[in-house]
Each structure stands twice: as structure tokens, then as C-alpha cells.
Symmetry: C2
Subunit: 349 residues, 2 copies
């Protein structure tokens, strides 16, 4: 009997449904070739759903989604400035709520400059690194508050919360990945200014590092890290960093590697207590939605990360090889979203 | 009688004294040409002073420095990892203490890609923007703390403090600069996640913006801003942002515009209650200290910002023109720190 996985699909808003359709095409093709099966349930979540029902993500949604093995998400978010969405905050209420509720403490974001992809950098070596971004702590926790809102005496605080428990588990995951790659780990933080959390991150990296003697450890302040990402991105193997720094660095990493049309990500709960979620780094791009203009490659590469996570490395490599082959054959002429999906399916074998 | 200014000099550590020496050469030359005078007092501050005396910055130092009209700082910080500096934190105790004590709420960081400077970007238009970074609030305040330090139950919090008072004054300054430039202001924040402080920044930008109808206002999340800095930096005129985002964006801006060897900055108290401080963005680079290898251009451009601040625009423009002329004549061959200083003096005319 075929191995079967329960897949929760969240196509979302804007270009989300278009890119997810292509990702599923590729997934179905590789699954049938590998003799595995995906039972899909689609969830209507995002700005469109909010406008229809007033709900962003209900407890029932969360329970239903949690009953799956993995999640594939397209993109969520309405038209910027839409007054009807003013109080929705789809990002916090949906995307971040999923990451936090499902304990996605490893936010995995690989960067590869594929042969044939035009990078904005004039020159770069062999770029192939992965950012392990903490996903459940730091400035993203939503702690803090406001007094005297709307007055000249307003004070707005944001609290970044960092725990040894939370830092240790993501650092351990990052070391394990470095050990399976090129044995190099770079901690990125701002320890000279954020000394409370910085000391914690440094201590944990030292402690966990002692159990991975084969991994060389390096440290960069976040400001300096942005410099190296444009002047010498080939130096990186695994970067481990906090939630906010990871957010910033991975958009920059996406840009130098040919645009976020190619950037895939995994929101991973390595313990397997909750389903992990895979999504392109790009947003819903409502301006080009429904026009078959979006590049589904990031969504398709997110499927590869999902297959990795399900311990189906052959299937994952098949997807990645097909993407690499397709990218290498690109000549700059425009193709529709589905034409790109079809080409990648054709390249699968 | 010549107009006279009291200048506090903090050469600092590493390459600091070398680059300050060249900045002073240029300052003296332009001052004598313009008929102005600078009375200099040198302050020995930094890692070297700490190792000698155990002091980082005393109250007496602060009082003495405050009695000056302006401050020029080279760079501070010892050899990374020097165990004797373990508990010093020169950055917080000296650089940030000066910025906070002297109420440097405008941290001004211009970026220009000068003709002839090799940028890591394959292509870019006319890049000339300025980042107005808030200098006295945000995650830099040092609020927060640790419980159960060193244990598996450690919790480390960092509090970003943002006030309407603090945001309003820097936003006002940024709008005034935009109005005197190309009438474009971009707020950079992360309002979708840091909603407490994000709402405050947005509100204040809306309110102050209403009094600058000629300035077009734009908003970018900090992650997206890093993308545009490498794909379309010419789009920016004035960026206004918080302390930490400004730190990150200006290092990236320095990198795309030819390296932090050229990046100048001003820590400005626009009210004139305290002396403003001008410094290259680069650090003390102890590895190349004393070898006449450092590029003093960033320090010299910081002198130009200082002259701007003292309302000596002719003198400032003279310095900038000399730097531009020198940069245009660079052919990539190595010159000593003092040879670059001499060449810029010679180009002053
Ligand atoms: C949409 C936003 C909340 C999100 C984040 O900040 O994490 C996005 O930028 C990302 O990187 O996935
Ligand atoms: C040295 C450090 C405290 C400082 C900062 O973070 O502000 C530096 O990076 C800068 O940008 O001037």
C-alpha cells in the first residue's frame, strides 16, 4: 500500500492560489512517480475569507489543520491599504498565529544562486547557505503595549522575549544541519547592543557547539552580516539567528539570489508534535494576481523542503533537480505561471 | 576676528587616530581657506584608555566634552575577543553613552555612489539618499533584563521603548531634510509585526507629513527595504527609521556604495543643547591599525557633515568636492592613509 500523507492546503490570497496550483501539479507528479500519496484538504484562509466571514483563524481551523501531517501555504494578505482590512492584521492573526500555535521554532530558509539566474551582484562565488531563523520568540511575540495612545505623551514598548529553552532547540537544529552540510555555523545577532538576549544566544551557541566539535563557529553582528551578504555571500553555510534578524536577512538573501520569486521556506516543528508548514517567502502580490504572471518556483521549491521534512529525500531531490534544469533553460522570455509549472513537471523524471 | 569653534577630538582605537589625523589635515586646510578656526581638545577614550585606567567614560569626561561645539570621533573598540575587555562593552559604555547623554536623536547617514567607485551591484542608477536614524530610543535603550541567568530556565528580555516625543522630533527633522532635497520620504519599520511601535511611527509620520504637503511619503517593511537597497537603491531620497533598523540599513547602504571606507555619519542634536558628534561608520579595525592602510575618506566626509551642521555650507561643499575629485582619480592602486589625506587636501583648491 502506498505511503499516505495528509496535506493541509492554504492557497490564500492574491497569487497564492496560482502558485499553489503549480506546486500541487509538481507534487502530484513526483508522488505518483515515487509511489506515495497526498490526501489534500483545502482551507480558505486569508484576506478574502476575512472579508467574507470576519474570521482570520478560528480555533476550529487550528484543530482541523493540526490533524494533518504537513501544510502548504501560498501567500496571505489583501490589497495594501484596503480600509476593510484595517483591523485585520492578517500577518499577525494568521501567518504568525500558525507559526506560534504550531510551535514552528525552526524557520528554514535556504539560499542558492542557481546557474543561469541573474543576481543583482556584479560577482559572487558559489552561494549555497541556509538561514535557520528562530520562529517562536524574540521581538515577534507580540508582548509590549502602549500607554497614552494617540497623544503627544504616547509610549509604545515592544518586548523581545528570549528563553534558553527556545534558543537552545533552534541552535541545536542549526548545528545538526551544519554538521550535515559544510560544517560551518555563523551566529548573527547584535550582542554589543542587545546584551541581555545577546549573551544568552552566545552562551547557548558555545554550549551546544561543544557537542559539535566538527562545526566551525563564527559570529557576526547583524549589520555586518548584511555587508557580507552583498560582498561575500559564498562565505556562509548555516546562519542561525533570531526571529527579526532572520526576517531581514532572508529577504536580503532572496534578493541577492535572484529575487524572492525563487525563495522557499519551511516553518518546521522538528519534534513532530504539530504539522510543519511550507511556503514561498514572497507575499500575495495582489497587483499581479490572477494574471498568470507569478513565478511558482518558490512554491515548488517549498514542496521540495516539505518532502525533505517528510524524509523523502529522493522525491525532494527530484523536484530540486527539475527546478535547476528549468532555471538553467530560462532565456528571459516571459512564461505564464502554469507554463513554468508544466516545464518543471516535464523536467521531473 | 575669525569665527572660532571648539572641537572635541576623540581619535579612539585602532585605525581611529590615523583617519582622524587626515580628517584634521583637511579641516585645517579648509578652515584657513575659509577664515574660520577650530580650537581642538583631544580626549583619550576607548579600549586603550580602559586598559590603562579602567574607565570607559567618566562624568568628568562628559562634562568636559559637553563644553565643546562639536565632536569628531575616529573609531573605538579593542581587539575582538581580548579577554581584558570582556566586561568593558566599549560600544555601550562609550559610543552609545555619548549618543544618549548628548541627546543625539538624529543619526544622519548619507549614501552616495560616487562616480568611479566600484559597487558590488551589477547595475544601479543615480544613488543619493540619506538615512535619518533615530538615535536615542528603540531597542538601543538598554531596558530589559535577565532572570535565571546561565541556567536552562534563563529568560532574557529586551524592551524597545518608543515615545511620541522621540519619534516626532526625528520624523520632523527627516521631513525637513526631504523638503530640502527631492521631496521624498520613506518610512521603514515592521508595522505588521511590531504593531505597538509601528502604529506610533505611522501615526507620527502621517501627522508631521500633513505639514509637509510637498513631500511624498512611502512606507516599506524593513525586510522589503533591504531588497530595494540592492535592486533599486536609486529610488530612495530620505529614509526615516528606528535605531536598530537604521543600524542595519546603513551598513547595507555602505556596502552597496563601495564599502564602509566611504560611509560618514553625524550624531546630531539639532536643538544645539549638546554638541553633535561626527564619525565614520566603520569600526576600529585593529587588524590593520598603525599600518597606514585605512581609507580616511569616511572620516573626511564626516568633517563635511560637521561643517554642514555648523552652517558652513561652502566649507562643507569644498570638502565634498575634493573627495569626489579624489575618488574619481583613483585607479585602484594602493595609497597610504596619509597619501589619501594629502591628495584630498591638494584637491581642495
Ligand atoms: C508577513 C510577515 C509577518 C512575515 C514575517 O515577518 O515573518 C514575512 O515577512 C516572512 O518573512 O515570512
Ligand atoms: C558599535 C555599535 C554600537 C554601533 C551601533 O550599533 O549603533 C555601530 O554599529 C554603528 O552603526 O554606529
Amino acid at each position: 500500500m502506498a505511503q499516505t500523507f495528509k496535506l493541509a492546503l492554504i492557497p490564500g490570497d492574491g497569487i497564492g492560489p496560482e502558485v499553489v496550483a503549480e506546486a500541487i501539479k509538481v507534487l502530484d507528479a513526483v508522488a505518483s512517480a515515487e509511489g506515495i500519496e497526498f490526501e489534500k484538504t483545502e482551507f480558505q484562509l486569508g484576506a478574502a475569507r476575512f472579508l467574507e466571514t470576519g474570521d482570520v483563524l478560528t480555533d476550529e481551523d487550528l484543530v482541523a489543520i493540526s490533524a494533518h501531517d504537513v501544510i502548504l501555504l501560498g501567500a496571505v494578505g489583501g490589497v495594501p491599504g484596503d480600509p476593510r482590512l484595517k483591523n485585520a492584521n492578517i500577518e499577525r492573526g494568521l501567518l504568525l498565529k500558525l507559526r506560534f500555535s504550531l510551535d514552528h521554532y525552526v524557520n528554514l530558509r535556504p539560499t542558492v544562486i542557481y546557474p543561469g539566474v541573474p543576481s543583482p551582484l556584479a560577482s559572487h562565488g558559489d552561494v549555497d547557505f541556509v538561514v535557520v531563523r528562530e520562529g517562536t520568540e524574540g521581538p515577534y511575540v507580540g508582548n509590549g503595549g502602549v500607554i497614552r495612545a494617540g497623544t503627544p505623551q504616547e509610549v509604545a514598548n515592544e518586548v523581545s522575549v528570549n528563553t534558553a529553552y527556545g534558543v537552545e532547540r533552534v541552535v541545536r537544529d542549526a548545528f545538526a544541519r551544519a554538521s550535515a552540510r559544510r560544517n560551518k555555523l555563523t551566529l548573527v545577532h547584535k550582542t554589543n547592543v542587545l546584551t541581555f538576549s545577546g549573551n544568552l544566544w552566545k552562551r547557548i551557541v558555545d554550549e551546544v557547539g561543544a557537542t559539535f566539535p566538527e562545526v566551525a563557529v563564527d559570529y557576526l553582528h547583524v549589520d555586518a552580516a548584511t555587508i557580507f551578504l552583498v560582498t561575500d555571500p559564498a562565505r556562509f553555510d548555516v546562519i542561525v539567528t533570531d526571529n527579526l534578524f532572520g526576517d531581514i536577512l532572508t529577504d536580503l538573501a532572496g534578493a541577492i539570489s535572484g529575487g524572492i520569486g525563487l525563495a522557499a521556506s519551511g516553518n518546521i516543528n522538528p519534534d513532530g508534535t504539530y504539522p510543519s508548514m511550507f511556503e514561498p517567502v514572497h507575499g500575495s502580490a495582489p497587483d499581479i494576481a490572477g494574471q498568470q504572471k507569478a513565478d511558482p518556483t518558490a512554491a515548488i521549491l517549498s514542496v521540495a523542503l516539505m518532502l525533505d521534512h517528510l524524509r523523502l529525500p529522493d522525491a525532494a531531490d527530484r523536484v530540486r533537480s527539475a527546478v535547476v534544469a528549468d532555471i538553467a533553460s530560462r532565456d528571459g522570455s516571459a512564461r505564464s505561471t502554469s507554463a513554468i509549472g508544466d516545464a518543471i513537471v516535464a523536467a521531473l523524471s
